[in-house]
Amino acid sequence: MIWTIRKSALSAAVSGAAFFAAMPASAQVEIEYWQYFFEARVTAMDQLIENFEAANPGITVNMTHFPYADYRTRTAVAIPAGEGPDVVQLFYGWLNDYIEAELIQPLPADVFPVEEINADFFPMVQAMEVGGQYYALPTAVRSLALFYNRRLFEAAGIENPPATLEELVETAAALTERDGAGNITQVGITTGMTAQDHHWWREVLIRQFGGEPYLDDYQTVNYNTEAGLAALDFYTSLEDEHGVTASGFMDEPQAAFRAGRAGMHIDGSFRIGALNDTRGLDWGVAELPAGPDGTQSNYSSYWVNAITTKAEGERYDASVLFMDYITSPEAMQIWLEVVGELPARVDVGMTEENANDPVYGPFIRGLEYAHTTIFADESAQRQIVMDMVARTDIEDQPLADSLAVAAEAEQELLSEYYNR
């Protein structure tokens, strides 16, 4: 079902009429904006559209949103038929598919100069530059951080969240509890490649152990190395050697943390809202622990906005203005306040207030050293990492063998994707 949201039809009609009276006819341009349905995002976008229309009285923006599951199908069908959006929101990982299918067009370099974007936005946004042109830009980005349970920290007599991986293991050990039979009843830190841990392993741990997970713009797997093995060894040792976690504990990592049965939990900034709604949970946020040599890293993902190939003529000009506004510092601040997602521009993110915010701060500071994996097929690539750990856990396959199998499988997937 499609829900079309307009400012009330009446007010639109009135302002339209007033506008026609004052301006030469046909100056009123209507453009179509599409995003998937998530309440806070829709509320924020309503606010942005209102501000934009106030500043550009000649332009009306209609927002359409529908369930995430239908998103790709609808966009794909609508744009070639000339029916769809002029400005569309898409997941960063879909960019290549959209460009290849000629659904989106490059952003004009005079309004969005490449050097300026490179300088103004957090570095991982550069993944949106293809062949010297930017195709899409985010309003907001997400990153990872370490959530911790203050009550459990207090009960265990720990003052500060761990700053290094070594401290992470010690802290987790102090927080772990077991019953008489040795079954874990409270984990020091949650684990599970099913959640965000595959990003943590890929972009954070491997780099911290001196590796580089991929080469050639993420087209070549490069983790079947000593660094990759060390990172996998560290990850699996949390359960196998240190016994500070149990993968799949309480079904889902975030469930264990929300139930107060986990001392620490690595998750994305999108979890903040759910944690705020959890009564009786006293939690804090810290930056991801640094590696053995002090290396810090993070993983960032984001949704971007792009101008579709459907937008032409005056609708194109209006779309460019709209894109310019929704990627402006003002829009980002609104998005942060309403949705809780992090600003994509460095100067908005790193303001004194935002960067030192007790909740958003650690995520925003993480953006400075964050990496964005360019996935060919995120769920399939996640599955490969999940299976890698499952083979060592369930089938007792040696780490090095399992790592090699995973690297080979992922390389095959990437080669097939890029060589078709």
Binding site: T75, A101, T185, G248, M386
Partner: protein
């Protein structure tokens, strides 16, 4: 109108019959046959839902045959069938056979057995998923722990997970099968049993020589019906393994789940269509076997 008026009564009847029949036929053609045909065409193409479709010949089928995951999934699908159908058949028959003899609270008991069939598969799958967790939240493992028995990994195991997921699926289907069996039992004429009683035959012989042979059409129906159900199993598996669909290590993944993932997570519509065609063929063979069995009566 002139034309219609000149028709005979029989011809008018035929016109009306076809007029009414046209509605479901049109519906079937648009809703069923067109997409089915389209899926068969897509299985020879490559398409990611966005760009153009390109012809690839038998590439998708070649990938399929060479894909070890496909064969594992194919095996899993038949594992669901080969475990699920006989188990549910025997259990539902035993319950129906005895329930048929119970007079006390008969309706209430029957309702209790039927209840799971009416329950949403999603809700049921999630409740069972939590039953299967380890301490401190899993019902079964908490019970084991309280009597000092070691934990059992139900879902996080390549050997236990499939039967663990199958159990609630079997349970959910029982109610329906029991009702069908009871109807079948009631349809057997009393006189056979009376004759057997007069001849002084053991109840075991009555079961083997009278009840089961006369239940044959019922059994065939239930076998075919539940076979197709187990071959198409999806909701229980998907909901009990959402974080690692069909896992661990693909040990619980049925064909339908693989099709779903290929199409709507990997957006590889051609490959997904090829898998669908294979599923279609499997179901077709099962259905033809059904017709064969029914004709042999």
């Amino acid at each position: 109108m002139q034309f219609y008026r000149n028709l005979t009564i029989t011809q008018k009847r035929t016109v009306w019959a076809w007029g009414f029949l046209a509605v479901p036929i049109l519906f079937y053609v648009i809703i069923r046959f067109y997409p089915t045909g389209n899926a068969m065409i897509i299985s020879f193409q490559e398409w990611n839902l966005l760009g153009d479709r390109t012809w690839t010949g038998f590439d998708n089928y070649v990938t399929l045959v060479r894909d070890p995951v496909f064969w594992q999934v194919f095996g899993n699908t038949f594992m669901y069938l080969l475990l699920g159908t006989p188990i549910s058949l025997v259990v539902s028959f035993v319950i129906a056979y005895h329930l048929d003899k119970v007079r006390f609270a008969h309706g209430f008991l029957r309702a209790l057995y039927f209840l799971p069939f009416m329950t949403s598969a999603v809700a049921m799958a999630w409740v069972w998923r939590w039953f299967y967790q380890g301490v401190p939240i899993g019902l079964f493992n908490n019970a084991l722990a309280s009597v000092g028995i070691a934990q059992i990994e139900f879902l996080n195991s390549t050997t236990n997970a499939l039967p663990a997921i199958l159990a609630p699926a079997v349970w959910a289907g029982l109610g329906f099968q029991i009702i069908i069996f009871m109807a079948g039992l009631r349809a057997i004429p009393r006189s056979y049993y009376e004759a057997a009683q007069i001849d002084g035959v053991s109840s075991w012989t009555v079961l083997w020589e009278i009840t089961l042979p006369l239940l044959r059409p019922t059994i065939v129906f239930i076998v075919v019906f539940s076979s197709i159900g187990f071959l198409r199993i999806f909701d229980h598996v998907f909901n009990m393994t959402t974080n690692n669909p069909g896992g661990p290590l693909n040990s619980t993944k049925p064909l339908v789940l693989m099709i779903y993932e290929t199409a709507f997570a990997s957006f590889d519509m051609g490959y997904a269509a090829a898998q669908t065609v294979v599923l279609f063929l499997v179901l077709l063979v099962v259905s033809l076997l059904q017709l064969r069995l029914l004709r042999d009566r």
